[in-house]
Assembly symmetry: C2
């Protein structure tokens, strides 16, 4: 398993409720892909959302996000952390 | 206090030791700006580093990073999180 940070653009005006609903939509199906979405952070002003996950691959992360209705614009493996 | 996600590009090949040293350089001086750097994640392949902090302003985050020798390329307030 590898840790990933994925980024969504174009989410200007996202609310706390929308962020929570999107995260819950991921959590509801993540096991199908052996992914776990740990946390997410949103900047409503620039419309940027960051999601931190553990997953077998970037493709698995993207499949969950696509099925949940919010495809990621960037997905980076982040094997290093402090 | 607001939570911020800042992003550094051009860090291709960064090692675990370099990430830890950079984070420790931030921690050593962050109190001067009332900033706290919580975590950081790095993708050595694309050269991207993400830092999560709590701070009074984006400018305070940047001042710490600049004094520590690694200016951020992007700083986003992320007031929403799950």
């Amino acid at each position: 398993m590898t840790r990933f940070m994925d980024v969504h653009h174009g989410m200007e005006g996202i609310t706390a409720d929308q962020l929570r609903e999107a995260h819950e939509a991921d959590l509801a199906i993540e096991k199908d892909e052996k992914v776990h979405f740990e946390r997410a952070w949103a900047d409503p002003e620039s419309g940027t959302v960051y999601c931190l996950s553990e997953a077998p691959s970037a493709e698995a992360v993207q499949r969950v996000h696509e099925r949940a209705g919010h495809k990621a614009d960037e997905i980076h493996a982040v094997p290093l952390s402090v």
